[in-house]
């Protein structure tokens, strides 16, 4: 099955992953198309749900939410899964919830103010009635944390990406 987009789309996606506020005119210059053509492509990529959103990334350390942990949560049974997810999704420190291949296990990523609030959150997970056990890995250092994925370019299926772009500054962006 062919990819639902061409190389121009791939280049646009890659630039917008790196620099989400890049102007349409700058993108147009990069890919060698007109501004309306680039706008139409961006609109299509959003409408088709390939781009799910644009977000400012904030430095969690600067904002005093410096404690991160990953929990492997094992539930008692299959029927606990839906209510557990409801509970986990409602918790303010929960950044991610994934069901994984091990039966009845969910991986939950937490980001909290400090180790004691983390402990409270982990206790809340462990104390939830359908939870059998929680394995918690507390993060010591984060060396990389991105949602940027390598965009496959071209028919040969080789993943190729343009590398680093500076953060957009005033005058250079929207």
């Amino acid at each position: 099955m062919p990819l639902p987009f061409d190389d121009i789309d791939a280049i646009i996606l890659d630039h917008l992953q790196a620099q989400g506020r890049m102007t349409r005119s700058r993108l147009a210059a990069i890919v060698g198309r007109s501004v309306p053509a680039v706008s139409a492509r961006m609109r299509r990529l959003e409408e088709e749900g390939i781009i799910t959103g644009f977000h400012a990334a904030l430095d969690f350390r600067r904002l005093g939410q410096a404690t991160t942990a990953f929990c492997w949560v094992t539930l008692r049974g299959k029927r606990d899964a839906v209510p557990f997810r409801e509970f986990a999704l409602g918790h303010q420190d929960v950044l991610e919830v994934h069901a994984v291949t091990e039966a009845t296990v969910h991986v939950v990523k937490l980001r909290c103010q400090d180790p004691s609030t983390l402990q409270q959150t982990v206790d809340a997970l462990s104390d939830w009635p359908g939870v059998r056990r929680v394995l918690t890995c507390v993060v010591d250092e984060t060396y990389k944390e991105t949602r940027r994925i390598p965009i496959p370019l071209g028919g040969d299926g080789v993943a190729g990406t343009a590398r680093s772009f500076p953060v957009a500054r005033n005058g250079d962006d929207l």
Binding site: Q19, A56, G64, C137, V138, E141, E145, R147, V167
Partner: protein
């Protein structure tokens, strides 16, 4: 002293929600002029509160089907920097964390299929002093965000981590 106030918090929340929001719309929302919004955004960027603006892509739509969490055990902390350096070189590795407790590192990876995952795993397992790894492959994702809940506060200082 570096502080962010309630208006900064509102700007941060608007930009976390919509990273391409136009300055004039932000200005309207927070009741400031466009130049003062620009000035605040510039400061938030310069002080490293905003680290960037990014489009988020639904990986499955472009046939990158596998997300996995890999817990790795590297024996001997003198081998940690080498491990991290190698992990940072791989585009498919989205997150690299060192951890306390069981295992020494966690990698979050996003890769095309089970074949490319297998290749990645054997690569990681061949790195110096990697003693073992446990892989959890994601079946479904119910939440995945980096959104924080900023409040008016004194900004925290920290040392940049080196490898």
């Amino acid at each position: 002293m570096e502080r962010i106030d309630d208006i900064d918090v509102r700007i941060l929340n608007l930009l976390q929600e919509n990273g391409r929001m136009k300055r004039n719309r932000i200005a309207e929302e927070v009741g400031l002029s466009v130049p003062s919004v620009s000035e605040r955004m510039r400061k938030l960027e310069e002080r490293g509160v905003i680290t960037g603006y990014h489009a988020v892509i639904d990986a499955k739509r472009i046939h990158i089907d596998i997300t996995a969490f890999i817990r790795v055990m590297v024996d001997g902390s003198e081998y940690y920097p080498e491990f991290v350096r190698r992990a940072l070189e791989l585009d498919e590795v989205l997150e690299v964390h060192s951890i306390t407790g069981e295992g020494s590192h966690i990698l979050k990876v996003r890769t095309r299929n089970t074949t490319s995952l297998e290749r990645l795993l054997s690569q990681v397992q061949a790195w110096p002093n990697v003693h073992g790894s446990t892989t959890s492959i994601v079946l479904s994702t119910f939440k995945e965000t980096r959104k924080l809940r900023p409040v008016a506060m004194e900004l925290a200082d920290y040392d940049e981590v080196g490898v």
